[in-house]
């Protein structure tokens, strides 16, 4: 590979960056002026000018790629030759001829099914503890949220080391248990049956703190008079939790469930850094990445991406439908 000095790689990008920024400002001013000349109200013309960057971004970086990837999903495309229309072949192959597809779908769905509820229950527990008028709440909040700000790459390397079969901290700590039960140390990440638990543990470390901070904010928003009213009615701690806290918190929980599911189904960095045994499949985004950028099957990868989108949509819609049963909005009439 060619040697590149720093300036060789910085200056051209910097110049184009200035150019695009300048062009954007000119386009915004130009559009506003043009609309005003065409007789649009000044306020509306300025509004259109201001949102122009986002609208352009929507067209160029969202809508066009969105449509293009749907088209590509019906083609065979290796990026070097033009795409070739093959109809539904990619989708047929996905369901019938790709053993990795089903394994990966299963692993990804199971991961979301375990990670989201466990993460939210743990987070709810922590949030409830923090809501007990504890001293130094700022300190605790800072501590619990900490794993969520760390770079995912550092987190996954750390956990690979923690779960290293021969010398990781986890197996060191579990060593008495292994001796007691007379079993071999667990081969986290390499035993197909243990891949899922290992990822769930790693995922929990990242999410439960972030969720608990959000839930705590939700708890603080519950009006105090509701608890006072419950006290007057002679409600116990549990009754207050079931009849006041949970209903009042349900919209925040709902937000956490939705974002949690969408995030868990798209886990990438964590899975990318761990060599999962083929028998266990892999995570869906890694499957797509591999098809697209390692094997250059851009068409098939697009079909997989569209399938993932449909899965996310269906699950989100199901959760939203079910929300009528369990989410309570105070402002709803």
């Amino acid at each position: 590979m060619p040697q590149m000095t720093a300036w060789q790689s910085y200056i051209p990008t910097f110049l184009r960056w200035v150019g695009v920024g300048g062009a954007m400002v000119l386009a915004m001013i130009g559009l506003t002026r043009l609309l005003q000349l065409l007789g649009v109200r000044r306020e509306a013309a300025t509004g259109y000018g201001l949102v122009l960057p986002w609208v352009l971004g929507l067209l160029i970086w969202t809508l066009y790629p969105f449509a293009n990837s749907l088209y590509l999903s019906f083609t065979r495309f290796n990026i070097f030759q033009p795409p070739e229309w093959i109809g539904l072949e990619n989708y047929v192959r996905m369901f019938t001829a790709d053993s990795q597809f089903w394994l990966s779908l299963r692993l990804t769905l199971l991961y979301a099914a375990l990670n989201v509820p466990l993460g939210i229950i743990g987070a709810l527990g922590v949030a409830l503890l923090l809501n007990q008028n504890v001293k130094g709440i700022g300190f605790w909040r800072t501590v619990y949220y900490l794993p969520a700000v760390l770079p995912a790459v550092a987190v996954v390397l750390l956990w690979r080391w923690m779960l290293s079969p021969t010398s990781g901290l986890v197996n060191f700590v579990l060593r008495p248990v292994y001796t007691l039960l007379n079993i071999q140390p667990l081969q986290w990440f390499t035993d197909p049956d243990l891949v899922l638990p290992a990822f769930v543990i790693m995922g929990m470390w990242g999410v439960f703190g972030a969720n608990s901070v959000i839930l705590l904010a939700g708890l603080k928003n519950i009006p105090h008079h509701l608890y006072e009213a419950a006290d007057l009615d002679g409600a116990g701690t549990w009754q207050k939790f079931w009849n006041v806290t949970l209903p009042m918190l349900s919209s925040t929980l709902f937000y956490n469930v939705i974002t949690g599911i969408i995030g868990a189904l798209q886990i990438f960095v964590q899975a990318f850094f761990v060599d999962i045994p083929r028998r266990a499949g892999t995570f869906f985004n890694v499957l797509i990445y591999r098809e697209a950028f390692s094997f250059r099957n851009m068409g098939y990868a697009s079909a997989l991406a569209w399938f993932l989108l449909l899965v996310i949509l269906v699950i989100t819609l199901l959760v939203m439908r079910s929300s009528a049963l369990w989410v309570y909005y105070a402002g709803e009439r």
């Binding site: 590979m1 060619p2 590149m4 720093a6 790689s9 910085y10 990008t13 960056w17 695009v20 920024g21 954007m24 306020e43 509306a44 013309a45 300025t46 509004g47 259109y48 000018g49 201001l50 949102v51 960057p53 986002w54 971004g57 929507l58 970086w61 790629p65 969105f66 990837s69 590509l72 527990g125 503890l129 008028n133 504890v134 130094g136 709440i137 800072t142 619990y144 949220y145 900490l146 700000v149 760390l150 790459v153 550092a154 750390l158 290293s164 901290l169 470390w205 703190g209 972030a210 901070v213 959000i214 904010a217 925040t252 969408i262 798209q266 797509i288 990445y289 697009s302 991406a305 993932l308």
Partner: protein, 302 residues
Amino acid sequence: MREMSATTVTVRTPSLSGRRVVGRIVTYGLLVLFSLFVFVPLAFMLSTSLKTEQQLFVWPIQWIPDPVEWRNYPQAFVELGRIAPGLTFWRILGNTLFITALAMVAELVAVSLVAYGFARFRFPGRDTLFVVLLATMMLPGIITLIPTFIIWRELGLINTYDPLTLTAWFGGGAWAIFMLRQFYLTIPVEMEEAAVIDGANTFQIYSRIMLPLIKPALLALGVFIFQGNWNNFMGPLIYINTTQMFPLVLALRFFQESLSNEAPKWHYMMAMSTVMAAPILALYFAAQNYFLEGLTIGAVKG
């Protein structure tokens, strides 16, 4: 800090019954237990990064290694330079900061303008556009990834920093626009009306009145964008091939991959992970309120 002083007052009220004391102890006990779940892996990372290769496998674990091997930090980058010539620590830092700075400046400028447009100006189609904006937040990034890669390839800009920095001019994340718009909406309109009467134009109102007022939100957003770009993995992975151009994330991955054939050098990898995490942690401790408030704005108020 605010909450701390407020809670101290309530806790100091006397008349704690025996049962409440037990409750308190259980509460704090659990809080400490959960915080161990956070701290032990971090301590393990730090402690590993300061060990010699032999100390790695010693049981019981030496939490404070003896001797403390500070040399691991420079040595990790020497080892990296051995497999990737020209990729020094300073070069990696420069690459990472270059990407992060350009993306951050462009996104802050663009987002603050777009959000201003959505918050303060009435125009036909605005609310529809805003719903579309919210909907794009649900879209998995992987869908647009391949066509976006093809666009950059057609432009001949693969293996440059352009894909990682130029798109920020288009307003970046929908979430950022949403958050800033919510913030603009909390600012009273009277100030702008007064400025209009004084003959100020839109840009003057934006730069002289609005920007100073939304500074806290911009700082919060800046912190998030910095963190997002610093931690971004997928983008550099797809667009950057030349090793000398690697930002920290890719350097770490390259290091890990090249060493996985030999014995994994966990002390070096933990040293590099610590280097990668340290600036984010420092930023987090310095600006934690911005992190935490930014996080909850969409969840509780939205």
